[in-house]
Structures are given as C-alpha cells and as structure tokens.
C-alpha cells in the first residue's frame, strides 16, 4: 500500500479534487470526511450499498427461525393451555416478528461491518486524525510513478497538506 494523502480544509476543494482525480484515473481513491456529505458521494459516484441484502436475508432467516422454534417447541411436547390449538400462529407471529427484527438488525450491522471493512485492527497508512475533526482527506493509492501527478492534482485543488505514504 502506497500512495498520496491530501488534506483539505474546504469541502468544495475536496469535491473538485475528487472529480479531477477520477478523470485522470490516478488510482483507487479513498475520501475521508468528518461527516458524511452528499457532495462527496456524488463526486465519487459509487453504486448503492449492498448492506440491504444482509438486511433482507437476515430478516427472512429471523422470521423463519422465530416461527420454527415456536411451532417446533409446542409440537415437541404438546401441552394444552387454555384450550388453544397446539401451534397457534397468531401469537407466534409476535415471536416471528421479534426474531426477524433481531436477526435482521444484527445482520445489517454485521453486513455493514463486513462490507465497510470494519473492524480494522490497526491503523494503516493514509489516515490523519484531522479527518475526524474538521478536515477532508483524499488518499490515492497509486504506483510510485503516478505519485507526482496525483500530488500535483491535490495541490492544485487546494490541499493544505500533501504527503506520500507507504
């Protein structure tokens, strides 16, 4: 992993830099921002997140498990309570729903972690503590021969600091 890191004070400067870097196909771009900004997202023009698939699958698994556990348990040892049918689907809907939410929510989070590469066990190159404060950062991963070009683009677009890291 090697590349160039640019630190920006202003949002529009970072947006402009991204646009230019993408045009120049300098390398894989990672943008840091203290808060999610639509401007940056638009500039990066990534596709929609695939987290929703985890949500869907988790939810379906959950609701299935919820109904299954309730029905299987009452069928395993059929005890009559209050003259109700042994598997009563109406109350079991509550179980199904709650387990759906539980598994769905957890799988969403785990999916998010998975696709967002979190947790990260150690800080690698290309990060600066200022990015959680007020500054924007652009990390361009590129072979050494492109570094000069990238540095130039970053500086031209108003980076307050540009540094090469490896």
């Amino acid at each position: 992993m090697r590349g160039v890191l640019g630190v920006f004070r202003e949002l529009d400067a970072a947006v402009d830099a991204i646009a230019e870097l993408r045009r120049s196909k300098a390398g894989a771009i990672t943008v840091y921002s203290p808060t999610p900004r639509h401007e940056l997202e638009h500039a990066l023009a990534h596709g929609p997140s695939i987290v929703r698939r985890f949500t869907l699958i988790g939810g379906l698994l959950g609701v299935t498990f919820g109904y299954w556990i309730a029905i299987w348990v009452s069928d395993y040892w059929p005890m009559v309570v209050g003259g109700k049918p042994i598997p009563s689907w109406v109350p079991y809907t509550i179980i199904g729903f709650e387990v759906m939410v539980l598994v769905g929510a957890l799988s969403t989070v785990f999916g998010m972690f998975a696709v967002a590469r979190v947790p990260r066990l150690m800080m690698t190159v290309g990060y600066d503590p200022r990015f959680s404060d007020g500054d924007y950062g652009i990390w361009v991963e590129c072979p050494p021969d492109r570094e000069a070009k990238v540095t130039q683009v970053l500086q031209e677009n108003g980076a307050v600091e540009v540094r090469r890291e490896r």
């Binding site: 556990i69 299987w72 395993y76 005890m79």
Partner: protein, 178 residues
C-alpha cells in the same frame, strides 16, 4: 430426549450451544450419577442375588405394592444370619456379618446411606413400574454386580421422559409432579 426427534434439535444446539452448556449446568442437569457412598455394612448383593437366586422382592418387599420399595428390617437379615453367623465353619471371621450382629444385638436399625433419590416434588410409584415389567436394573443398573452400590443412571427428568416416550405412556407433568 427421544431418539426419534434428536435430529430436530441440532439447529438449536448449534445456535445456542454455549448458553446451553452453561445453563444446563445450573438448571439441574447435574446429577449425582456414579455416587457410591460408603455404607455402614458392606453389603454384597452378588451372593444373595446371583448365588442364592434371591428375588429382589424378598428384601425390598413393597416394591410391587407401594410407591416405596422398602428396605429389609434387621430381623429380615437375621432370619438367615442367625444361622449363617459371623464365624465361618473353618473359624475365620466374617467382619460384615459381625457388624450386622452388633446392630441386631444393640436393637439398632442399620443407618443405610441413601443412593437413589429423586427430589421430593417427584412422585415415583415403584409398584407401577415394577408391575409394568420394568426391571429393577433398568433404573438401578446391575445392582447384583455392584460392590458398593452406586447410582448408574442420571435419574434426571430427561432420562425419565425418554423412557415414558419410548414406552408410549403418559408423560405430562402431573403424572409425576403434584
């Protein structure tokens, strides 16, 4: 757990295995299985049951007519052991019979240590089981081979229910718990 439905529990076991181990341990899954306490008299079942072919009911005489199987009174023992005394014909000593005789002469009951015990909220009618053809060994193990007697089966509820399910007899709670 029934064998028939054993497969069905595996998904649940996989999902919650860790919690299960922990909670089963606290929830009474533990049992004094294998307990073999020291008895006041080292009574060997083998010579009585195997060699002399005595029926279990000779000593545990209410097992087929009462919830309680009964323990032999000292005079039941002494019925034979006044003849078969602590001294063998060749003059050697039978120390356990000497203890028995001491109890008999002192008019004291033998303080046997209880081995098989279900909790007080479990009603276990021995006669129903004995009369239904369940052998003593089914629950108590091969007592005739044991010295000292120990608890072979877990005697916990899952163990009881398993047999009830297999034999297709009632196993709802109020059969045993009231």
């Amino acid at each position: 757990m029934t064998n028939r439905k054993k497969w069905a529990v595996y998904p649940g076991l996989l999902a919650l295995a860790a919690a299960a181990i922990l909670l089963s341990a606290v929830s009474g899954g533990s049992t004094p299985q294998g307990r073999a306490p020291e008895q006041p008299i080292r009574f060997p079942h083998n010579p009585h049951v195997v060699a002399l072919q005595m029926n279990c009911l000779y000593c545990h005489n209410s097992a087929n007519k009462s919830p309680d199987p009964g323990l032999p009174a000292v005079n039941t023992c002494m019925g034979c052991h006044t003849v078969i005394g602590p001294r063998r014909p060749d003059g050697t000593e039978r120390p356990e019979l000497a203890k028995l005789q001491q109890f008999a002469t002192r008019n004291q009951p033998i303080p046997w240590v209880r081995i098989h015990k279900v909790p007080d909220y479990v009603q276990f009618p021995h006669m129903r089981h004995v009369n239904a053809g369940v052998t003593c060994q089914t629950c108590h193990g091969q007592v005739q081979e044991m010295l000292p007697v120990y608890q072979q089966e877990s005697l916990n509820m899952g163990w009881c229910v398993n047999c009830h399910v297999q034999r297709q007899v009632r196993y709802d709670c109020s059969v045993c718990h009231y």
